[in-house]
Amino acid sequence: MHITADRERCVGAAQCVLAAPAVFDQDEEGLVAPLTVDPAGADGPAVRQAVHLCPSSALRIDEE
């Protein structure tokens, strides 16, 4: 699983951080700043929820 996070699209709603705090964080500007772009398998469901919740479609996952 590989994550692409688009800071340009991000609107700082923090849904990803709430859904998967081990994988996503916010920078000083409140925009998405992933802690890792290749999360461990165990985080999969949380990451998928983060993608589903993101209001601005700023997140994409490529499953391997």
Binding site: V11, G12, A13, Q26, G30, L31, Q49, S56
Partner: protein, 410 residues
């Protein structure tokens, strides 16, 4: 598009049969015609969206505009109400991001996102706790039954916004009084207009003062400083943003506090479980947000191109109302939506909207709700309604659903 005779078009908003449930028509429409035509109070015909999937799709669609100055923007007021409240409306006619589109919206939003990051909100939590403790002290000291709305529901968001915006302590009482009058049913249009003017002038002066002096360490102060570095907003837009933050963060949270407390008191088993294990509070709040979806007649939009969705074509320059409440009661997405199930996992509700306009203050709202409910359960375990829940004065006539008064015994 199928031909619809004029008299077949139902009026919006529709009436509720039960104060805790959405209008029954939503369910029927969702099954038959999830994007359907409705007549708005101002006489215009708009599209009403009642299905969760379609609501999300439309709200994330770049072909819809949030520009309320567009002539087809769905209006919630009748022509008569509009004339009578023209002065009140002044308060909300200044430009702010919730009515901007595209790059302009992005620039306005981005200058604020840092203020609402989870870290910033977490840093505010101790202050929210102090505010909640103080308002509960006042409710406990008041003659019984005391009004939860006056003492807690209205007071907490008002004081938190003062803290956030940097309203000086000595002016908070005035600010709170004006904000309360704007949403009160017991004051006349004239009094409300006066309160609106006073609040508008007050925020104008506050911004002007902060622009003149050294930058202050509060949201408006930092916004001014950031805007100096990279100019995005005019003076008027900064005032408009302050007004927007007040309106958006005040009524919504206030009504969720009132409805949430009633929901807890009406579900004593759930209440006992949450009191014993505060970790259950967070999913319970998501469920309350879904169940009540208080911003029920919004968001409104206008199509900027033809959009094919849900078996119809929404034409360019047609108005759209996306009912978050209807979407959040979609039984394909939330099984038995009429059951208040605190453990269902309702995080994908659209109570805060969806798309690039999704509520920026949602995590502040979550903290306010958590602190209020946790503190009330802990400090006032004997809290009870002084009148039956079904007899409370529900806001059937307001744009944001809620309750006017909640008499409680503490």
């Amino acid at each position: 598009m199928t031909e619809t005779l004029d008299h077949d078009i139902p009026s919006f908003p529709m009436a509720r049969a039960c104060p805790m449930h959405p209008p029954a028509e939503y369910r029927e429409l969702r099954g038959r015609e999830p994007v359907s035509r409705v007549r708005m109070p101002d006489g215009q015909v708009a599209w009403l969206v009642t299905k969760h999937e379609l609501a999300r799709k439309l709200l994330a669609d770049p072909r819809v505009s949030a520009d309320r100055l567009h002539p087809a923007f769905p209006g919630r007021l009748t022509a008569e109400q509009r004339a009578a409240t023209e002065r009140v409306r002044r308060l909300s006619t200044r430009r702010s991001m919730i009515h901007l589109d595209g790059a302009e919206h992005g620039a306005h939003r981005k200058i604020l996102t840092g203020e609402f990051s989870l870290r910033r909100i977490a840093a505010l939590r101790p202050r929210v706790q102090e505010i909640v403790d103080r308002t509960i002290d006042e409710m406990l000291a008041a003659p019984q039954p005391a009004d939860l709305v006056e003492h807690v529901s209205q007071a907490v968001p008002s004081l938190v916004i003062c803290e956030l915006l940097g309203v000086p302590h000595e002016q908070r009482r005035d600010f709170h009084e004006w904000a309360g009058m704007l949403v009160s049913r017991s004051v006349s249009i004239r009094e409300r207009a006066a309160a609106s003017d006073a609040l508008n002038d007050f925020l104008e002066d506050l911004v002007t003062e902060k622009e003149r002096g050294e930058p202050t360490d509060d949201l408006i102060g930092r916004l001014i400083a950031r805007n100096r570095q990279t100019p995005v907003m005019t003076h008027d837009e900064i005032v408009g943003t302050a007004v927007m933050l007040l309106i958006a963060g005040h009524q919504t949270t206030a009504n969720m506090i009132s409805l949430g407390v009633v929901a807890l008191l009406e579900n004593p088993e759930h209440k006992a479980r949450i009191a014993a294990d505060p970790a259950l509070l967070s999913p319970a709040i998501e469920e309350m947000l879904r169940y009540f979806s208080v911003v029920e007649n919004a968001p409104a939009r206008v199509a900027t191109e033809d959009i094919e969705i849900g078996g119809v074509t929404i034409r360019k320059d047609e108005g759209i109302v996306v009912s978050g409440l209807a979407a959040d009661w979609d039984d394909e997405v939330f099984e038995h939506p009429d059951r208040l199930d605190f453990e269902r996992g309702a995080r994908h509700h659209v109570a805060f909207g969806y798309g690039v306009h999704q509520c920026l203050g949602q995590n502040l709202a979550r903290v306010e709700l958590e602190v209020v409910f946790e503190t009330l359960l802990r400090r006032v375990p004997g809290l009870s309604l002084a009148v039956p829940a079904e007899e409370l004065p529900y806001k059937d006539d307001a744009g944001i659903y809620g309750i006017y008064r909640v008499p409680v015994n503490c």
